[in-house]
Symmetry: C2
Subunit: 176 residues, 2 copies
């Protein structure tokens, strides 16, 4: 793993999320799997929120304070309390935020050795910058998977007898 590879992976995500969700009917985007679960719309909001309140501030905290100061806790459900907005608006803001942060990462000119720099997570304790960034990429991808699956489950009943072949239609999109 090196910083350029991470930056390159992060830069891809807004395009993928846009391809999956832009222009879909609102009732599809807003469909969830029941109480306590997230719709595709919610997940895109979660990604935008994580950008501003999780990945970037935690990266800065490690670089400025190491493990002397713990990260702020991350509110994973903040987006559920936002004023409703068009998906395109959220996608645009996510793309702009992601582009800015990738530019910031690249401007740091970090070496692979910098990935060992340490920070302090309020729940799981000491972590490295490399672990934070690997989690960032993996979090993007697992949430892309979550968006695709919750959209698929719109057709849970419409697939009729094929449902027996499609276990993903019987999962639920737990908040992760």
């Amino acid at each position: 793993m090196d910083p350029l590879e991470i930056a390159s992976a992060l830069a891809r995500t807004p395009g993928t999320v846009r391809a999956l969700t832009a222009g879909l009917p609102a009732e599809w985007l807003r469909r969830n799997d029941g109480p306590g679960t997230w719709s595709a719309y919610d997940v895109v909001g979660h990604l935008l929120n994580a950008e501003a309140t999780n990945w970037q501030p935690r990266t800065r905290m490690i670089l400025q304070h190491g493990s002397d100061r713990a990260f702020e806790p991350f509110d994973r459900e903040a987006m559920l309390r936002w004023k409703p907005e068009s998906i395109n608006g959220i996608l645009d803001r996510f793309q702009a935020a992601r582009e800015a942060v990738v530019e910031e990462l690249l401007a740091l000119h970090l070496s692979p050795a910098d990935l060992d720099r340490r920070g302090l997570h309020p729940e799981i304790g000491e972590v490295t910058l490399g672990e934070l960034w690997a989690t960032w990429v993996a979090h993007d991808l697992t949430h892309i998977g979550q968006i695709a699956e919750v959209l698929a489950r719109r057709y849970r009943h419409a697939v009729g007898p094929w449902r027996v072949f499609m276990p993903a239609l019987d999962r639920t999109a737990d908040a992760e």
Copy 2:
């Protein structure tokens, strides 16, 4: 559900799959979760293969023969025996195949009532055209989710202690 909505959903898939996979390093694309599981590369091949040997021929079979003739069985793992090819080559062929079949669907000018037309599946018995098409859309989406997740699992270890928050990193991409 109506035929135009299905066609619109199907038309989106090549762009999403391309955004997720084009240009990724081969070792990432080819990474799988162990014996009997599929890499992202394998899943894209599976989508291309399904286009030519599953969805389109089964649609035609329903329209031409109703439930008088059973569908050919679908070989879900045919792509594992293909000659290796660049991901861009597979993506281009998938996009071309999908564009052609969406055009064919639209040219049929089917009404919502046509979605009740019947066909015969060799394992699960009688099905409708609407069920076939809903399965097609859901199958695209669950496999997009599968691609995103198997890519995420490249970082299964690199995320360090965050792994406890990311159950998707401990699933495996079973052939579905």
